[in-house]
Structures are given as structure tokens and as C-alpha cells.
């Protein structure tokens, strides 16, 4: 019996493959699966076997029947996919007409909006500041001492001694605190600038989202919760984050936040340089000197702030290997983000 099944299987696939049009394929189907087909005949012959053999052969034949049907179906798809409906004679394979062509949102700004949406859901309001900033807001009010190496971390475009292109979205923190009393929970997305030459991972213009929370008694633990909630929502993973102590003049304590590498799940890969971790933001507790610059009374409030680079997150999310692609505006790149919201 097994021998017959095997032979039928190979004969049926050969005949199916040889069928050059629908009619030929239909003939194959009838010859094998039809009422008088060879497989049907074998099924009929089962009754002559004893019970054990019958059960075994019956199961095998049913499997074969499925296989052959699938092979015929696949061949049918190969031969023409959608076929004109015999009844109407309309060629339903012709392309449709869209109400409008398809465009796309820029992946950077999509990521930026997604991030803002998550924080909006957590109760954060949104604001922006100027891109051409005073040295005062970009550095001095953020507790960067004059003529201190902390300023070297960020190569700055200057227009004169007092005016520069902001190197970070953090100056909006001070502008916000000057105007409003806590409780505050805000995010500040926007474009920032660094005076450096472009390469695959650096661009002199890029985007950040800054966050600020100030109240009577918010803590570093609240910061950790907020960051974890964001990471869970944005990256989907239940990946834990890791706080590493760091230094930013305008926060104290300061940390860098790492998340488990989304590409390798923490095992280590090229993207995370085998560490299993990806740095996603800088954060910390608002420095008392920043509160002082904003005009808040000593000791009344505590707060936390965080900032992340949108470009890097977009590159991670979409597997983009060269930051310059984000600013070249080439349709061969941008068209890949059609429908990405």
C-alpha cells in the first residue's frame, strides 16, 4: 500500500507540474481526485483490508489527498493568480485607482511624535523654545560654569559671545520654569545643533526630546518609573532599564539610561557592541542651581529631567545605519516609510 501511495504522490506532482494551463490542471485534478480518480479508487479499495491496516492506510491516503490538493492549488496560483471571472468577463487583475497617491511622514518626526504621544498619555504637556539661543539659557542658567571643560562636551556654533545655536533642548526647561510655577510635567521636542563634521553616526543638526517634572517632592525613583513606563510603551518590550551614574551640569545626581538591546535581547551583538545594552537617554534630578536660575525658592521643589536623541532611536527602530540618510531627503529612502505613523 505504502508503495502505491508513494507512486501516486510522485505521479500526481509530475502531472501537476506539467500542466500548462487551467484546463490541463483541471484534467489532472479529475484524474486523481475526481469521482473516478486514482486516489478515489485507492480509498475505495480500503474496504478489502483488515481493520488495523485499513486504519493505517486510510490515514496515509487522507494525508496524500491534502498534499495533492495543495500542490494543485499552488500550481493554479502560479498559472495566473486572480482569473477573470468567467461570468462577467471583467479583468479583475487590473490595478485599482487610489483616491490619492501615497506619501509619507518623515521617520524622524514620526518617532518624535510617537514619543510625545506616550508622554502626553502620562500627563505631560508640550512646549518648544528657540533654536537660536542665548548662551545664558543654553549654558549659564543650566549650571555650566563659564570657561569650564563641561562646555567642551558640546561643540557649539556661535554667532557672537552671547548668541548660539542651542546644543540641547534643555534650555527650554529654564524658559518654562521662568514662566510657570510647579507642578510641572512637560516635554520639549526640537532641533539641536553641534559644531562637528558629519559621519555615519554624527550630524551637525539633529533632534531631541527633553522632559521635565517639578513638584514638591518628586524623586529619582519617580524618574526611574517614568523612564521604565516610557520604554515599555515605546519599545514594547518589558525590557528593564539600567541607570548608570554620569555627569551633566544641570542635573544632580545625573545618570545615563541604558535599555536592554532590542536587537539581541541582551545577549550582545554588533549594534550594542556586545554589551547587551543600548544607551537611550541622559537624565537626572534638577540641580538646585537651575532652580535658582529659574527663580524658584531654595529647597521648595525637587524635579527630574531627561533628554534623548531622536535620530538614534529612529535608527535603532528602523535599522538605519547612517544618520545622513535622515537628512538627504532621497525618495528611495523616504518611500520606505509610507504608511508608518
Amino acid at each position: 500500500m505504502q508503495e502505491m501511495i508513494d507512486r501516486l504522490r510522485s505521479e500526481a506532482s509530475a502531472a501537476t507540474a506539467a500542466a500548462g494551463d487551467d484546463a490541463a490542471l483541471e484534467a489532472v485534478r479529475v484524474a486523481v481526485l475526481g469521482r473516478k480518480g486514482s486516489l478515489t479508487a485507492l480509498l475505495r479499495g480500503l474496504k478489502d483490508l483488515d481493520e488495523a491496516a485499513r486504519r493505517e492506510a486510510g490515514a496515509a491516503l487522507n494525508v496524500l489527498k491534502e498534499e495533492i490538493s495543495a500542490v494543485i492549488e499552488a500550481r493554479q496560483a502560479e498559472l495566473g493568480g486572480d482569473r477573470p471571472a468567467a461570468s462577467s468577463g471583467l479583468d479583475l487583475t487590473l490595478p485599482g485607482r487610489a483616491p490619492a497617491p501615497i506619501g509619507s511622514r518623515h521617520p524622524l518626526l514620526t518617532v518624535l511624535e510617537n514619543i510625545c504621544d506616550i508622554f502626553h498619555g502620562m500627563g505631560f504637556s508640550r512646549d518648544e523654545g528657540p533654536e537660536v539661543e542665548l548662551d545664558y539659557y543654553n549654558f549659564t542658567a543650566l549650571n555650566f560654569p563659564d570657561d569650564h571643560p563641561a562646555r567642551d562636551i558640546q561643540d557649539t556654533f556661535y554667532f557672537n559671545d552671547k548668541v548660539l545655536l542651542r546644543t540641547q533642548t534643555s534650555p527650554v526647561q529654564v524658559r518654562m520654569m521662568e514662566r510657570r510655577e510647579p507642578p510641572l510635567a512637560c516635554i520639549f521636542p526640537g532641533r539641536v545643533y553641534r559644531n562637528e563634521n558629519a559621519d555615519a553616526s554624527h550630524s551637525s543638526e539633529f533632534f531631541q526630546v527633553e522632559g521635565l517634572v517639578v513638584d514638591r517632592s518628586v524623586s529619582m525613583a519617580d524618574l526611574k518609573d517614568t523612564v521604565d513606563t516610557f520604554v515599555r510603551n515605546f519599545f514594547g518590550a518589558s525590557a528593564p532599564t539600567r541607570f548608570r551614574p554620569h555627569y551633566f551640569p544641570f542635573t544632580e545626581p545625573s545618570v545615563e539610561v541604558d535599555m536592554q538591546c532590542i536587537l539581541c535581547g541582551g545577549k550582545g551583538c554588533g549594534v550594542c557592541k556586545q554589551s547587551g545594552w543600548l544607551e537611550i537617554m541622559g537624565a537626572g534630578m534638577v540641580h538646585p542651581n537651575v532652580f535658582k536660575a529659574a527663580g524658584y525658592p531654595d529647597d521648595r521643589y525637587t524635579g527630574f529631567a531627561f533628554g534623548m536623541g531622536i535620530d538614534r532611536i529612529a535608527m535603532l527602530k528602523y535599522g538605519i545605519t547612517d544618520i545622513r540618510l535622515l537628512y538627504e531627503n532621497d525618495l528611495r529612502f523616504l518611500n520606505q516609510f509610507r504608511g508608518v505613523q
Binding site: K162, V163, R191
Partner: protein, 818 residues
Amino acid sequence: MKISLDWLSDFVDWTDETAVLAARLTAAGLNVEGIEQINKTFPGVVVARVLEREKHPDADRLSLCKVDDGTGAPVQVVCGAPNVRAGLTVLFARVGAELPGDLRIKKSKIRGVESHGMICSAAELELSLDGAGIIELDTKLPNGTPADDLFGFKDTVLEVEVTPNRPDWLSHVGVAREVAAIYGTKMSLPPVFNAVQGGESLGVKVRVEHYADCGRYTAWGLQRVKIAPSPRWMQNRLLAIGARPINNVVDITNYVMFEMGQPLHAFDRGQLAGNAITVRRAPKNTSVQTLDGQTREVEAGTLMVCDEKGPVALAGVMGLGNSEVSEKTTEVLLESAFFNASLVRKASRRMGLISESSYRFERGADWDMVERAALRALQLLQEHAGARIVPDWADRHDPDHRPADPLPLRVWQVNRVLGTAVNTGQVAQILQRLGLKVQPMGNAESISAGAVNMMVQVPSHRRDLLMEVDLIEEIARIHGLDQLTGRGGYRVPGGAVRRPQDVARDRLRGWLSSCGYTEIVTSSFMEAGDHDKLALAADDARRATLAVVNPRHGGDTQLRTVLAPSALAVSRRNLNAGATPPLRFFQINRVFRPGQPLGRDTRHADEALLPAEHEYVQVIVAGWRDTGLGGLPCDLLEIRGTVEAMAGHLRLPLTLEAGTDESWLDAGAAWSVRAADGRVVGVAGRVAPGVLAAFDVDGPVALAEVRLDDLDLTPAPARFEPFTRFPAVKRDLSLLVPAEVAYGQIRDTVDSSGGPFLESSELFDFYRGKGVPEGQAAFGIRLKFRSPKGSLTGETVDAAIGEILTALKDRWAIDPRG
């Protein structure tokens, strides 16, 4: 910064393997970015003695030698070094030896003579950069002793990222302190010299002009110095952390700096003029030759170290060539000082000269280390440069210098900021592990807002700890940031409301991309000459730009005042890349207009220096050459339609009015966009052919832009109005229109003469050509009449149409067709 673990283990013990140590340092804030294993080994290379040396029979420059490599029988080897001779003790690579650079020694024939190995030079073993000849060893070790016993070296090096607030981590001792704090163990400082030798006096007087510039200056004398290579172990450690060995004196000053963090400088005493050293500002611009051989301009006001003739060092940055230690040096003046961070930084910036010394001084030196580091160096110089230390030393320091005041610490505030529940005992213990002195205050256990629980004395190497919150950070680091457990996330009371501009921008992005437009992000900079290419008038206010004074090499400097050049550049790029037109793009981006009102409330007096930042939405259709209704170019039709639909989509009353004075648009194919109050808030139209040519765009471009920050983006509210359910009567008008009459004029006439029941009029056909008389066009207009009171009779509608036709005839000489 690189840290050698071999070196580090001089000062502190730890038990973890390297990866764990690295992880713990990273968790404490000293980010370990890389771990490098160094294993310098020379398999098959041994100590040997040259027994005989003769000339090679067939080559003038080669020698034929017999060496004893400890195996018994003399080995024949060909050698090319000029200094090889009988009796030398050398390093010999046997057949099968492996040398750096994957060089394997094989038995070979050189000019017909067999050679069984190689006598090695220092360069071949990568022991030095000097490859002049073979190594001449001075050792009594027996032949056959492995070279590893002399030169083998194993180490593990951590590459660490040191943040600007932690200059104390720029040394092995500083990192050892951190390791001790992490593991709760003790660390020990390097031993210091305390025996004084010699009888002569230093004979140098030191003067510091202003203690604010240099809080302390010490000078130490050394005599009978023998300049030679530094010991192998020191060279190995320096090489391991990426420093280049030079000679014993220079290496020792560098070694002590990397070990203890204090930069030192060695002067050749014989080259110093007179017997006085003065630390003072340069009175006027001068030019000097620095140790790196370059001539540099020094600005007036730069802090200098001078002898009686003039400058001998740029204080804290680099020594000068005139007093450099050389092979001939026999007397050394060693400087260990505390220079003002800001002055060192300014000098280093101005001259573009960043040295290991300036890097440390500008981040802040350690007062207490000035003397200790000098003593350490003296000890090493005595041991490894044969130096004799003179008994006295010069020390000038600010008499008003005081240690930092103790900082008050409230445990209540620690827990408030961190969200922890630590107690006074835990806090004190952590601070003590970090080497801070803790003085309990009042009721140490009382945790309340006002209670200071302890006073904390900060040592001189932690001058970054200035206030309570700095101590809180230390507690967080050592307590462990992974210990933080939150309350489920901070939620701001009341939640947030989206601002109209955010809603509008988001909707524009969504809608325009659904309409086939692709969003672009373009640079805020413009190219020089863009304004000329746009043919902006000479007095156009947009010609005033802000320019960066320190651009990237070759980068653009001016901030854009117009978006159009970026639209043209993106069109050109994609048309040239062969994208199929029509290409549709949009952007929401800013331009920067100096001297314009900011349109926001300001707090800081200098804000008047900032430019206004105007945000535009711009839509672009490029490369579309087809024409549509009325012979109008399709791109122009679409741009107009897009602006109108955009207004509808945002529920903003924007209107287009033919004509604009925008120089870069084609005057006959452009509109002004007006807001409800009549202000012009944008333009739309085709880019003028001359401008397209100037930007090298091969194809037409139509675009529209509307300034968003100038509009109230709150959508007009929706309010229901009752509508009539009686049926409408539709009538089509077919008109013959003289060519000079515009559709807009017909539309206005129809609307004003159609009577109370005319609900709408709509152009459904436009035709010019065969079947229509020359100089005329055929318009098809669909009219809809409706009454709220009941069904309209044919007579009422006919009467209304009669009025319309009469008006069209009277005003524009338009006749019904056929």
C-alpha cells in the same frame, strides 16, 4: 583615559574578575568603555652570546656569527646589524621563534650561507621604536634564558570615560580610591621619599605674582642626573596606557602624573638663566617655541613660568624648548604646582594646545598632591636616574588657602531626592567609604526637613563636592541606582491638553502624507548666494541673516531666512536621481529672521539679540509638465487645490488672491494667501524659470507656503445649522465667454445675480478650440436652486436664470451657447 590593572593593584586589592570589576566601576559612574589584554611574550627568543663574528663571504654589510644560545653547540647565524661583534650578549630568536607581527623564524640561506635563527633588534621585538641595531644586553643571565624573563609583560587595561567633574579619576590612585569605596576596602598611596641627600643648596628663589593665578608653586633640585632609558617595568606601564617612553626623567614625571594625577615639569637647570623662577602673566604678546618644536604666539595675560631672562614654560600647559631636558642634562629643577584652572584652560584653548597637563589642570588639581607627587618623583629619580636630591626646596603658597568648609547633610533630603529610605548610619557609612570625614550633628537619627544630621568634610581631591546635593549623588552611586523602587510613575495632577499648534501640525502631517506628499527635513543653514539665486531685491529684509562665526570646516554659515532653496534642492536631487514625476514633498520647518519682533514674552534683556523664528508649512510639486483644466499647468492647479483643501481641513479661513510680489515666483502664475483678517500669511505658485535655472532644477516646480506661527490655529468651531429637506433644482448653463473674462468674474456675477434661491454654482466644463469661435471659450456651469419654504416651480427658477444671463450679458458680453 587608560588604567593599567597591574599598576592599579599597587594601591588596592580586589577579588572580582576583570569583567565584574569593569561592571562595578561602570555602575559607580566610571564608565568602562573597553578592556584590552596585553600579553607581550617572545616564544623562542633567548639570551645568547656572540662567540665569533666574521664578514659574510659574499656580502659586505652582513656578518656571519656563531652564537651560544645555551643548547651546547654553537649556532651559525647571518646578521645585518652594524653593531654586532664577538662577546656581545644579545637576544637570539631560535628557528621556530615567533616575533611580533606574525614573523616566524625559519632556517634559511642568505647569500649562499645557512642561517639558523636571528639576532634581534629592539624594534623587531617591538620594545622600542628605534631599529638602529641589535640589542646589547647588560646581564649575567645564562645563555638560553627566555627573553620573557627580561621583557615579558602581561597586563589588562581598562579604557574609561572620565566625566569633566571627576579629575581625580584621571589617575591610578584616584581610580584605586573608587575601587576601595566600591569594595569597602582600604587603598594605600604610593610610597614617598623622605631621606634627604647631598650638601649643596637649591639656590633658586621662587616668586608668584598673584596667588589667585597659582595657589602654590614648589621647586626641587636634583644633581648628577644620568639621562638614560627608564626601567623596563616603567616603560611597559607607560606603553600599556598609551604613553610614549622618552627618557628616565621625562618618563618619571609622566609616570607620577598618571599615577597620582599631579602634572610635574622637569627643567634642565643648566639652561635656566639666573637663580629665580617667577610665575606671572605675559605682559604683551610674545612668540615662544614649545616642547613639541612649534613656534606659538602667546597672548598678553597668559600665565607663564619665567626665569630671569624670560618664559620657560606655559604654566600648566607645556614647557618651552629653551629649558627642555636633553641627553646632556645633569641638573634638574622639578616643578610641582597648583595652577588656576581657568587660566590654564584659556591658554590651552587659545593656542589649540591640549596636553595631559592642561587637561588635568583645567579640570582642577589636587592641592594636597602637589608636595606628595613631587616627593614620589624624587624617589623615582633617585632610584632610576642616579640623581642626588638637594636638601632644601622652594615652596610658595597662598597663605590664605583653607580647606573646604564642611557640608551639612540632611538624611531627610537624601530620601526626598532619591526616593529611598536610608538611615543616618547607612549614609555615614557610604560617605566614609568614599574617604569623606563625617561629623554627626544634633540628634543623628532625627529625620525631618530641617534636621542636619551630619557635617561632611571633603578631602582636597574631591573639590567637585560643593553642596549637599553633590553628596546625595555620591550616596546614590554607592548605594546603587538599581536599588531605586518607585511608586508607579509620577502623574501630573490634572493631565495635559494638546495645544492647537501641535494638533494642527500633527493633522497637517497626517493629511498631507495621505494626499501623496512626502515629508522632508531640511537643514537650517542656507548656502551663500541663495538669496541672489532667488532674485531677492537688494533691500529685501530677508537678506539680513545670522552667520556662525566658527563654522565647521567648509560648512555653511548663514541661517536660512527662506525655505524655498531647500525645496528646490530636494526637487533637483530627486529629479536627477530619476524619480518619476510628479514629485510631491512637504515640510514644516523654521526660518530665522534677525531684527524681527520675537512674538513671545521675554525675561532676559539679551533676548533682543535673538532672531524671530518663523515656522512654515510648505508643499511642493516638482517635475509635472502636464496641463489640465483651462490649459492651466497641473502643478499649479494642484498647489491651489491643496492650499484650499488644507484650509478646509484645518477649518481655517484662508483665501488665495491672484498676484504676489514674491521675487522667486512667476508673477503670472502665483497667488498670495490671506488669513481671515486680510493679512498675507503665505504665497503659492510656480517658481520663476530664471530661479529654477539658477538652482539647476530640470523641470517645473510649484509650491505653496503658509506661515503657521502667524496664524491662530484653533479650528473654527463646528455648529449645527438646520438644513432644508425640500429637493433642489439643478440647471446647467453653457456659456460662450470672451477670452479676456476670467472664471472668477463669471462666478462672482452668477453668485450676485442668482437671487435668494441660488444655493451653489460649480464649474464643470471648460473648453477652448474646435467648435468654439476664435477668441472665446466655452464654460459649463452647474447651478443648484433650493428654497427652505417648499418645492421651487419651474417659473421661479427660469426667472432666476434669466437674471443671471442678463447680468452676464450686460457686464461681460457673455452669451449662452447654441
